[in-house]
Symmetry: C2
Subunit: 423 residues, 2 copies
């Protein structure tokens, strides 16, 4: 006899037992419904992608340290997608001529990063990616931010629960250029800025000083004497955008010069949604405009704007604010069987309830009725009804409400109606 | 400038554009609804599993030739799940004491096999796995077969469209033993039998003759003089099961001694659902009883029975029989904007429709109204309505039915009602 296998999942990934998966489903089904109401359509792809897709333009840290990349038996290098945007851009480039732009597209699924597992950081996480593709900076950016806010509000969040922090890559780029940074050191500076909240102010300044003597953020904030004209112009453009969003009903939005987002590919506005709870001020999700990715495939540039929302931080936010919905798809009624010879009749009866959309769990064990009731309670099924020869002849069903032990005698039709109204 | 990247997906996997994904969603959402009505609950897990999970008990062919197995940066051997059953058994073994048995569980998701891509055989496919765990041979097996038939019927298939072919591993095992095969050569014989329909009768007989001089199938069919008692007993047991299923309303079921299923782990009845179309007689999906897997984890044996249904063959079946449902989640109405300054008003109006559950796509480009109508037609959106200053003041909306060009003037409330009734 060989050593028993471990029952643990692979390191850093989760097993979803029915209650866990019901939470994921509830979360993403609501987002999915919200997005289809706004005219967005769902696409998907395999998590297996050619490795070169990520080597081209994703942030260096992710490619070098954080991807699952391996060589298949045919000697092809394969990566498990760490994010969805490169796949989206690839799919659009493949059908650029047939597709009707703008595209309002979203995708919900798992992404993989080879990270040291810790709270809120897993090797596999779920994400909803939402993108509006084919329009330049303007109404598309406004819709994307409105939509980000609308998703949170659809879960019952109010404007006091979260705040949208917005910045602009052109603003950051012009400020970096004005501070004397080259293109490459600008990229390094932006990556450093992305980590600012995780560093001490001293550590940030020390790292910043190795890249530039002048402080680009000071230029943006208007500290110092001669702020260059293009920095002023980009800042006004961003503040105008923020005013427009406020006038459109997104009032909990502010300018934050330190928002930059991790990926190199952003080219326009960038934003992050933060929990407004002073005890938990962290980014929930974010996005921005990226106009340059199509060229990787030798196609025309396709302007795009979007955001992505991960399951772990989002569920934490909903839990913290008591906003996690509790819709269930678990059984509504346990149909007990007085004798094992009643099972066939009970299944037939359950089928009539199922036809009416009621979720019925039928006993097919030889447990006593008393044990069946105990089992129904353990399972958290709210109602119990035995069904056997008596019920067939009397056409009356005695239904037990397991929360309080009350019993009601009713017809099959009335039972179905009652379950429908409780679903 | 470096060479442009290819826009092709990785070999053997599919990109799902919105219309493609809508089909997958329709297929699996219907199966999901059906299963929850029967009291089944959905679980899930990561496609990343420890490689040893499959080395233990899956069929040799799959482990040696068909898995995606790689070594991660921490020197752990990882496999992309080729099937769900080992994961299911692992998850159950991990919580064997807390779980309330029987479990009625299902999981829908992608599975990976390193195969030569060809029609109906991809490197990534989607599958619904349905299992009833914790009960011995009996009512559980009956429910599982009833459920397999019920799923097909929920798509509108009749008993003339498909046939369930059933066999039994104990029957095959006793016949093989009676024919003089050892345990190991029995396993080889069953794997050979699994490929029988893909071979010529001569090739099958030649391969069979290398394993056994006596023909186990002839013993089962009752050809030859002295059929051993245990073979007769197992055959009667199986025929009784088939009779019970017929009496429960599954009339399109037959005994087929050549059904065996690919995996080694089956221990009881096995079945396959075949397309009844004489031009397309092939297996759609199948399953069976497997009682021994829990012991791999050093836990008690947990008896189980289940089946798995793959997307490609199932969708082909539905297409062939014109049963593919066409429910959509694409936009119902295109809200046009006479001027770009109307966009804000149009979005606000669209939000009132969205609150009523209507899927509204708003124009945010500077296209003319004529071009917007053309675009709505291209997108296949059925209704068009412009919304701007006129509509705000008149409170009347002129809605165009794009299929025939007819126009109706109506209030916002009536428009929402009309869209709801058309969804």
């Amino acid at each position: 006899m060989s050593e028993p296998l471990s029952t643990d999942p692979y390191k850093g990934v989760r097993d979803f037992y029915p209650a866990d998966w019901a939470r994921q489903e509830t979360l993403f089904t609501r987002i999915q419904q919200m997005l289809t109401l706004w005219g967005y359509e769902e696409y998907n792809a395999s998590p297996l992608e050619k490795a070169e897709l990520y080597e081209a333009k994703t942030s260096e840290e992710i490619v070098n340290e954080q991807t699952y990349t391996f060589t298949d038996r045919g000697n092809r290098r394969v990566t498990l997608r760490p994010e969805m945007t490169p796949t989206l851009v690839r799919m659009i480039a493949a059908r650029q001529r047939e597709l009707v732009f703008p595209l309002r597209w979203f995708s919900i699924g798992n992404r993989f990063r080879y990270e040291r597992p810790q709270k809120g950081r897993l090797r596999e996480f779920y994400q909803a990616d939402i993108d509006l593709v084919g329009l330049p900076d303007g109404e598309a950016d406004i819709e994307i931010v409105e939509l980000a806010a609308a998703i949170l509000k659809s879960f019952g969040a109010t404007e006091n629960d979260f705040v949208i922090r917005m910045n602009s890559r052109p603003l950051l780029n012009t400020a970096c250029a004005a501070a004397g940074l080259t293109d490459e050191s600008t990229r390094q500076y932006l990556r450093l800025l992305d980590k600012k909240t995780k560093m001490t102010p001293e550590a940030f300044m020390a790292a910043s000083n190795t890249l530039t003597a002048k402080d680009p953020l000071a230029l943006i904030e208007g500290r110092g004497n001669d702020v260059p004209e293009d920095v002023v112009r980009e800042k006004h453009r961003l503040l105008d955008r923020i005013d427009t969003l406020k006038s459109r009903g997104v009032r909990n939005i502010i300018f934050d010069s330190s928002i930059t987002r991790g990926f190199d590919y952003y080219t326009g506005m960038v934003f992050e949604v933060y929990d407004a709870n002073p005890k938990n001020q962290r980014a929930l999700f974010g996005g921005g405009r990226y106009d340059g990715l199509g060229t990787l495939f030798g196609r025309d540039t396709v302007p795009a704007v979007g955001f992505a929302l991960g399951d772990v931080t989002f569920a934490d936010f909903l839990d913290t604010h008591s906003l996690m919905p509790s819709e269930g798809t678990s059984p509504q009624i346990y149909i007990g069987t007085p004798l094992t010879s009643d099972i066939s009749t009970a299944q037939t009866f359950a089928n009539t309830l199922r036809m009416e959309g009621c979720r019925a769990f039928v006993n097919i064990t030889n447990r006593t009725l008393g044990d069946q009731i105990k089992e129904a309670v353990k399972r958290g099924i709210p109602f119990f009804a035995a069904y056997g020869a008596n019920e067939v002849s009397s056409k009356a069903i005695r239904m037990k409400v397991l929360a309080n032990g009350e019993e009601v005698v009713l017809s099959a039709t009335d039972l179905a109606t009652l379950l429908q109204s409780n679903s």
